[in-house]
Symmetry: D2
Subunit: 249 residues, 4 copies
């Protein structure tokens, strides 16, 4: 067991794009814990951070499974100590993107979308909020207010045709973020929601044929999240939207 006295950042949903950029950004200041179901997803990012002087660990976690989330917290405490503080928790996981005529959607698809987006964000918030709250009370006071950020999408604010399964859960995630912002803001925890309104420039979207300038830069998302994290408790932003300048909206 290696006890770190530094507060940590926990990031759920770490792929080769946004999650990795967020992880690198926060790893410049905090030890980071990266969560994804498949270790193959976080391992290269963990390795890269550790090799470049940061401190990172990955934990294979299914955020939609409460037992898996509890085990994750145990592992975090084992590694970082029982009195570990959390400086930032970022929910960047996403249920599968589904675009389908409504009458072709199955109950299973809806359940999976619920599990990934809503149940997952709920369990993640329940697991990390005690550690975030602890940061506000245990001395020394935090450099920045502890922060809980949820990544949303266009479908968080617009229920387009054929997006019934996806938009329901993104709307729900936004409601969760808003309710938590109102409950935990007065307690010193900054809860925020980001509407990522466009295609992100990650390996998976290379094939979309979009010009570079039409795709959101994951580093810019990470910078925005870091900015949110640095806001003092007198001046919290609840929601930002991010989109390419050329985007039609």
């Amino acid at each position: 067991m290696s006890v770190s006295s530094k507060p940590i950042a926990i990031i759920a949903g770490v792929g080769p794009g946004t999650g990795a950029a967020i992880a690198r950004k926060f790893a410049a200041t905090y030890p980071v814990v990266l969560l994804s179901r498949n270790p193959d997803t976080y391992t290269p990012i963990v390795d890269a951070i550790n090799q470049s002087g940061g401190q990172a660990m990955g934990i294979s976690t299914d955020v939609s499974d409460s037992k898996s989330v509890k085990a994750m917290v145990e592992k975090v405490k084992y590694e970082h100590g029982n009195t570990v503080k959390c400086a930032a928790a970022i929910f960047n996981a996403s249920g599968a993107f589904v675009r389908k005529p409504f009458l072709e959607l199955t109950e299973e698809v809806l359940d999976a979308s619920y599990a990934g987006s809503v149940k997952g964000s709920f369990l993640f918030a329940q697991a990390t909020l005690p550690l975030l709250l602890w940061s506000t009370t245990a001395p020394p006071p935090p450099t920045h207010p502890p922060t809980l950020i949820f990544t949303g999408a266009t479908a968080s604010v617009k229920g387009s045709a054929l997006f019934a399964a996806f938009a329901t859960m993104k709307f729900a995630l936004r409601a969760l973020a808003q309710s938590l912002a109102r409950e935990f803001g007065p307690k010193g925890v900054h809860v925020a929601h980001a509407v990522i309104d466009g295609v992100i420039d990650i390996p998976r979207t290379q094939s979309y044929g979009l010009p570079k300038e039409a795709k959101i830069d994951p580093e810019a998302i990470a910078d925005a999240y870091w900015h949110l994290h640095t806001q003092p408790k007198t001046s919290f932003t609840w929601e930002i939207d991010i989109r390419p300048g050329v985007e039609r909206w």
Copy 2:
């Protein structure tokens, strides 16, 4: 089997307040099918409608259970014929109202809220949309465009503190309604969502100590739903809000 050539209205979530008022309103024009889990809930309303010259039947249905919803459709077809048309389908069911500190919410409460609000509305929409679409194509043309209405609440558009479980699912329901409006409006089905922003004047809220004028009249909700139903396909309203004139908002 009694075959009715008249299109029917199906109303899910029929209690002594809004559901009953909607049922009576639509029963003035259509045979109505009332759904609730417990027959004790719909029986008095069914009886009252039948005794006053209308045509009503109740079907014990758990809208969050796909088998139960399928059995409901079978029963509707048995009673009203395999080629039954649906003029209006109204989802007025509500998951349990939960107001609780976030860290005291259990996974079970979230799941129940999902089942009642989101899964329920999803399965109800999948069961009724084929009957609504059928109304648009099978001659004679409908008097009014077939209509699918979802009942929302303040929490559909505002995630208040302590309402995480309730607001997530109400936001999700609103997303579903919006997505379906965009998909099925061009096909001639009118999908609408109502933000009921206040306390409804029903037996359960008698004890709230509010003056009569501070509580929404269920008959007025029913009138509004009927008005939505009568809108021609050139002029659909997607969303209305309803609140007492004295309400602070």
Copy 3:
């Protein structure tokens, strides 16, 4: 001077489309007063209403000019008595529709848009609210709560590119309606706003080449406004949107 003991409806912005339909609808119940700058606009509608058994008068009014609006009120009182009650006041006037690159807009265009939409609605509301409030207090009580309705557009909720002059004023009109709804709802006056989200089927839009079903029916707008007017004071709708079922939004 012909004194009418019946409450009246006043409609600003009466052209051959929506305004005329609203006038006819409300004239079925109330004497109506129709306002537009040019008498040629209201005369045919006034005549048609009077010939079909209704009671209508037109008053040439520039709603953006306080003197003109005051003179209108004097004329209304001269015709309908000093204690005239207003059952409904509807602001259907619209500043000129402007779609232009921002850097080509002139200050004069902005001023004209302000005058027509914002100043006009402000003066109209200030002129009619005393008559609407009077309806709530002078016996006998009104059949329906006195109602003040503002007609908005897509640009009331979306600031599209090239719509800077138009959208600013439509957003402003919506703010006015919302503020008045909150101030006067508790006093028994129903204030509402309608987002007319599409092309209206009027003579001027014949040339647009749109199929009939893609254009909003003015009669349906009038029906919706009448429905708003009939809502009891326990159950006010603040905002409705109206669009063709086939509209993309």
Copy 4:
């Protein structure tokens, strides 16, 4: 005439609070031009910036007067050269805050609110956008995309009772910002709007009796604006909200 080859920042509405903080923040990187009607307002800020190694000038300007705005641009060009580039333009001016029963508002108050908020922001945007666009085309390319930011308030998104004059114009300002974001984003200019949702911690609000933590820190607003300015053109935020963590909303 002192020609600066560095792009400048222009800030309208510079008082001892937010405007001053924004000015200091941007002065760390750019020569700044501060606008207010009364030189007494900007002089101490200009002096402080110049004394601490920055470069600042003030220009007495009435942003609601097109001649005054044109003269300001002339003066800027005289000082910084005819080919001056603008890196950031920030509209922080505000019409007078008015809270009054609607029927007590005068036409003059509405006109003044229009002039200060809408006409002012319109003229400011028309004056600065050519300089912002110039930054995107004239070599060398800008370090950060040129940015136009508008300061809004709670009343930008909520028309409260008694706020008719104030909210109309704040809604209008938001519409302007949104329309410009859509028009000029594709051209490489970042247009953003900030909903400042709370009391700002400035000398004028000392008497409000609020605890320090319940008031927004002007430095935090400046930091947020700077962050917006640094976003790359693939990743623009259109709107942020800022409020104290303890705020009820």
